[in-house]
Subunit: 693 residues, 2 copies
């Protein structure tokens, strides 16, 4: 049960603006509701008619006897507010508003929409829309949409649920799904999201026993917390979530900005969200449906080891390529398994890809026998079988299908996919036999890889807010100086080189002498963020030159920025060796703080070799981040270098991410650049740092 049940499982519906003409919005919606077999009361509201489509009609909501769970508003824009007021008076539980002309139309519409929300909130009434295509829940035989596509849709209560921020696209998805035999049992279009938004709708589906897989279409999230809550609920129940989020590319984001009024947020930050919650992000509708279909079967590989079985060496090689594309391993079968495979196919290749050769056509159950050997070994987590064109050939099809069905039943919890070169009916038969079936081998393998991604994410705990205690507090609207930033970092376990804040040349020389090696000298001021440009940085200074250097620096700095508040000058040792990295925090206005890691220099700035996660991350997750950049070998002994202290680096990344998460509402950016990672066992040093709120 969620608070959306009143909309998705209503016991009575008032259809405001009901029409006898089924080509009109209020007529078509009523017809759909009647035809789906809704079991509760239906109250058409139409002041000009006593009866609509054979049902008694009422002049207004107030005239309806008894309780109304859900009201549907199919009205001109101007008539919506009075109807909402009437619903509020009547104590209606929730309203679905088809009508457009609100927030999507600019400032006036925003005000109108806000008024509607205020009335609903005061009355405890939930709203879907406005400017939406409505929703349906075939499990409750409730159908509250006027979309024309449902005129030729037979409502089969499938186990997939769709939440879409586009009504038109939501219709396309249902229709595309039907073309491949898939059915959405619950379907919600959120429109302007005046009240119920994407996140709450996803949360409902995550909690609903009617939905096995939550499918989402996202243009831009409006409410971070409810979005995260919805995804967390699905994560907790190990329910797969598959989304298509548009605006992946700069060109797409530009198109999205002109299409949707909602804040888009940074697309890479969405990726960080999906990574945390284990959401599968599809690139195309086809891929989204492929993965949703596969996930709805409820079995997921325990790892990423794929067995490839083929009757054509060429397709075996292709499959190995596709597996590499998707990050699936194709390990060679053990000697014991190879021995048994050679018994089954003496002229085949028993390694992996396992090639049983064209001989399968003469002895179709060979495939099943080989699968049996392969899966019994527990050396593989999933299997791909190239059935190919023999799938539908006379004399072959029946023994092949029967034997495959038996072995699929025996290993029902191990996902198996097949490529089948045949017509749709034959494909469906192999599907019913227990295989995920596609014509194109690449799709079969991509889907197996998608399935493998879910349990990895579900097995990982989500961050716990109660772990974020005892961290420093960042006030809003400040920019900490380098010294203050470093002091704060030191407090969370990120050290900086020993350094001395001095005020004059004599102190500078004394400090440099005490350090005992060449030093760096930098001005310290909350007003100066770009020190180098104004001559506020001197590097590699011999201690005996420290006094003169400081004197010259004071002159340059005061000449450039006479009004800057100068806290002093920092004298610190020149550090040599180690690898320069960048660790940063950036707060997305929509999705909150993210933690970023990359190696210094052009790898980050130019080659975008950087990784990003939602803050906070654990040390284990930080280690994953470190290992995920392409330039990681530079920290890992590349070409005879010393190995770097990645353990200390992971600790620093995690600590910084926790600082950011604890201050999610105030932090803007934190940049530790460079963060010097010393040789293994020697830790890290923050050489420069800026914290801004």
């Amino acid at each position: 049960m969620t608070s959306l049940d009143i909309l998705l499982r209503p016991r009575s519906v008032a259809m405001i603006g009901a029409s006898g003409d089924v080509t009109r919005i209020g007529g078509r919606a009523l017809r759909h509701l009647k035809e789906v077999g809704f079991a509760g009361d239906i109250f058409p509201v139409n002041p000009g008619r006593d009866e609509v489509q054979g049902l008694k009609a009422y002049a207004g909501v107030d005239d309806i006897p008894g309780r109304i769970d859900c009201a549907v508003l199919a009205l001109p824009t101007g008539a919506v507010l009075p109807a909402i007021e009437a619903c509020a008076r009547k104590g209606v539980g929730g309203a679905v508003i088809f009508s457009a002309g609100f927030a999507e139309m600019g400032e006036q519409g925003v005000l109108l929409q806000q008024r509607m929300v205020d009335i609903a909130n005061a009355a405890g009434m939930r709203l879907l829309g406005p400017n939406c295509l409505g929703m349906y829940n075939l499990h409750a035989k409730s159908f509250l949409s006027f979309s024309g596509i449902f005129d030729d849709v037979k409502g089969t209560a499938g186990r997939l649920g769709l939440v879409s921020q586009s009504g038109g696209y939501a219709g396309e998805v249902v229709k595309s799904a039907q073309e491949v035999g898939l059915n959405f049992g619950v379907w919600i279009t959120t429109g302007n999201e005046a009240d119920v938004g994407l996140g709450e709708a996803m949360h409902h589906m995550a909690m609903s026993d009617d939905v096995d897989v939550v499918v989402g279409y996202i243009e831009g999230v409006r409410d971070r917390q409810s979005f995260f809550d919805g995804l967390a609920a699905a994560h907790a129940r190990r329910k797969p979530v598959v989304v298509l989020k548009v605006g992946r590319t700069e060109q797409g984001a530009k198109a999205a900005a002109s299409h949707t009024a909602s804040l888009a947020g940074s697309d890479v930050v969405y990726d960080a969200v999906f990574e945390r919650y284990g959401v599968y992000r599809a690139r195309t509708t086809e891929e989204m449906l492929d993965v949703a279909y596969a996930a709805s079967r409820g079995h997921f590989p325990r790892g990423r080891r794929l067995a490839i079985l083929t009757n054509s060496g060429g397709i075996g090689v292709q499959a190995a390529d596709f597996a590499a594309d998707e990050g699936l391993a194709v390990p060679t079968a053990s000697a014991a398994v190879q021995t048994r495979l050679i018994e089954i196919s003496p002229n085949g290749a028993p390694f992996n890809p396992i090639d049983l050769t064209g001989q399968v056509a003469n002895d179709p159950p060979m495939y099943a026998r080989a699968i049996d050997v392969v899966l019994e070994s527990a050396e593989f987590d999933c299997a791909y079988v190239n059935v190919g064109l023999i799938a539908g050939l006379p004399f072959i099809k029946r023994p092949l299908l029967d034997s495959l069905k038996a072995v699929a039943k025996r290993f029902a919890d191990v996902p198996m996919a097949a490529s089948v070169t045949a017509d749709a009916e034959t494909l469906a038969e192999y599907g019913e036999a227990g295989f995920l079936c596609y014509r194109e081998p690449a799709r079969a393998i991509k889907t197996l890889a998608a399935l493998a991604s879910f349990p990895l994410a579900w097995d990982r705990d989500l961050p716990d807010a109660s772990d974020l205690t005892g961290l420093p507090t960042l006030e809003r609207g400040t920019a900490l100086s380098e010294a203050a930033s470093k002091a704060m970092l030191a407090g969370i376990g990120i050290p900086s080189p020993a350094e001395h804040l001095v005020q004059d040349p004599a102190d500078a020389e004394a400090a440099a002498m005490s350090i005992g090696c060449n030093v760096a000298i930098k001005v310290v001021s909350p007003d100066i963020l770009h020190k180098t440009e104004i001559g506020g940085v001197a590097l590699g200074i011999d201690p005996k030159d420290a006094a003169a250097t400081l004197e010259a620096m004071v002159g340059k700095v005061t000449a450039s920025m006479p009004d800057a508040r100068i806290e002093g000058y920092l004298v610190s040792p020149m550090i040599t060796g180690g690898t320069e990295c960048i660790v940063g925090v950036h707060t997305d206005p929509l999705l909150g703080p993210v933690i970023m890691f990359g190696l210094g220099g052009v790898t980050v700035e130019l080659l975008k070799d950087v990784t990003m996660r939602l803050a906070p991350v654990t040390e284990d997750q930080a280690m994953d981040m470190i290992r995920s950049v392409r330039s990681f070998p530079l920290l890992d002994g590349f070409r005879g270098r010393a190995k770097a202290d990645v353990v200390a680096l992971a600790q620093a990344i995690s600590a910084l991410s926790r600082l950011a998460a604890a201050n999610a509402e105030t932090v803007r950016t934190i940049e530790v650049n460079p963060l010097l990672v010393l040789d293994k066992g020697n830790g890290i040093l923050a050489l420069d740092a800026v914290i801004e709120t």
Copy 2:
């Protein structure tokens, strides 16, 4: 006409090993040939029968009266050689050998196969196979394959041609194509390629008027020259070539190595080959067929500017993403076009994506009117239309289809693709109306991008061998010293810093003094390739220290490599500034010399930010190479740097590639690393170079 016509357009066929049992190889092949309606003579050869499948049979080839263009050998391995000998005696034009048991079986088989080739060569007889599934040419009603799949294949003489190095996969392709209504008119499986190989088969199709698009499946090329000749013929005739080459990934290459006996060659070098000849490389069978189908229509965009027309904003954004994925631009429509689009769709978005809104359902010809405006403007090279689920709706389908058909006819030479959410029949109707039709928008857009790639390559001249005169000759089996390498580079216009070859400390000092700045000193010896390791390099030496430095170096070098032939020591100026690049040549044992370019340091070694082309390249192509690396901005003024002399760099790349191409048979590697690119107008300097043959 090509020399393969004897196999692909035979006037008479001897079927050696013909059988009355149509489930056996020699029986099935004969049946196929009869059923396809072959118009020439068919001579079954079977020593035990007077008649086979109603045709007079002969005891041996020698007994057949009259000329035999083509013999088909469906025989046990042991019977093949005697039959080949008989065919040679008889003067048969060509033979197709189904039988396996030759080179694919190891050393013995290789010898047997070579014997067969020798006999055929001596007799001027061409061979296809052995170990192949044969070939067909429906345009000549010739069908010489025993593959079981053709039992239920109706031979439609489509305009696509397939050459495949895998027989099994070639069958899958034909069957997959049929499922989507495509037909291959000519089909060749090359098997062991004892004589006719991939390249010659592709060349035949490039020259054949029966084939509009050449489709190839490649595991590994055996004969570079015929492969290049085949691709060059297609390039010259502007005939599209679409291939699937397996072993793209390390995992796939490993699988390929165990599957095929042929040398694989480096996969990235194949990409360089495809780049030169404008071959489209597909990743999947589906993509290969999508592009082949689209290319067979014979119209190609003149540029990469895509117009996106949609009735759903969400799909418009997706389409913009897909276009970015494929490198298509989505430019905003001009003000004039926007004005006319607003007249058509007052509430739509006239930019690009052009969103006509759901209003299209009420006025289906809106799409055609908008396409008319868009294409008449000449602001776009191709168009994508999201028809979606309205495609098949009653009352909409007819006016929509009729109007789209009319506009497609008007702009018949502009490729247009559509996504259609409907059944296969409806898809086909929109296809016949002139649109490339797919269910998934991503496929529609990928195909348009593929089409756009062809004319770009066709418009580029292929390299002309006669341009490669006057270049230095590299003898086989030598490793040039740094000095000799630099001297050779200087001869082709790639300068090195002024430098002096000296023999003793006094000369070193004199040379350094004459240079007048800090110098580098390096040992010069054809026996020492890794100079640094043995103390043979000293950098940043003050001229007054040159004598002492040389003395020390002589000691170290002679201690480490007492037997090395020392030509002397190179004294050269220390150069500062500029950007270090790497330009190299690597000769692939299979595909010949390639030229490689990247920026120095980790970008090449670790991040693989390097580009490669087949040698030679023109200066224009070299400029494309320079611009194609991700780190190019470092040469182009990134963050306030000076712009580098990329013109001189392009000249150097082109010159080096020509040197390599002129010495294709001997050169092994050339590495100019670093090649220092100075500021614009200041040229380049080869700081180190190694040439090995």
